[in-house]
Symmetry: C2
Subunit: 128 residues, 2 copies
């Protein structure tokens, strides 16, 4: 029997331009987890150069300093999230989680009944 799953994509615009997205926040989050932009870039399938560009673009779009880099040293440089960067990732994750919860509740309460709840015969349950 069909099982219907609602999905959503979130992003943020400013002046009609994309300034923040699930994808970009995921990149930041990976920087925070690994302490390495090179590692975060690799996990996202991006070149280092492109990942760096995306982080700098995000900073410019939001007017926030999101990462702090230290170059050189024995193990090469590393990149960590600034306090603002950590706050932004955490805030965006809370935003995503609230939306995901409402997605499931609203779909179940508003739409699923019309689809026969996914348990009726083909053609759906008769409507009232």
């Amino acid at each position: 029997m069909d099982d219907f799953s609602p999905r959503l994509k979130l992003w943020v615009e400013s002046g009609g331009r994309l300034v923040m997205s699930d994808y970009r926040v995921r990149l930041l989050e990976l920087v925070g987890e690994s302490g390495s932009l090179a590692h975060a870039a690799e996990q996202m399938g991006l070149s280092y150069r492109r990942a760096w560009g995306k982080v700098k673009e995000l900073e410019a779009n939001l007017g926030l300093a999101l990462v702090q880099s230290e170059v050189g040293g024995a193990g090469g440089g590393h990149t960590v999230l600034s306090e603002e960067g950590r706050a932004l990732v955490a805030a965006y994750r809370r935003f995503q989680e609230r939306m995901a919860r409402e997605l499931d509740v609203a779909f179940r309460e508003e739409v699923e009944g019309v689809l026969g709840g996914g348990t009726g015969p083909p053609g759906g349950a008769p409507l009232p």
Copy 2:
């Protein structure tokens, strides 16, 4: 000053396949408003054939009879929504409206403060 606007896109999958979307429901809604698939197709920039295919695909995906067509007559045929079609459009609209409300509330409550509320100097307000 930057003004940040959250955006969302909604769709429904079944078995990993797209079965319903804002776009497809808009097509159905236009059929309901105009009583004409030709008119609805034109407003969506689709050929009649392609619009018809989308409606039939939606019916197959959902297992519902969404439209009723009558061919011929002086003014050509016309297409109207079935009771199930009207119920589906109304349910999906309620779903979209709930999600749009939560989008604004959750973004304001979770994210906007980190962005300086859009009223601070470039660089954003200092974080606590």
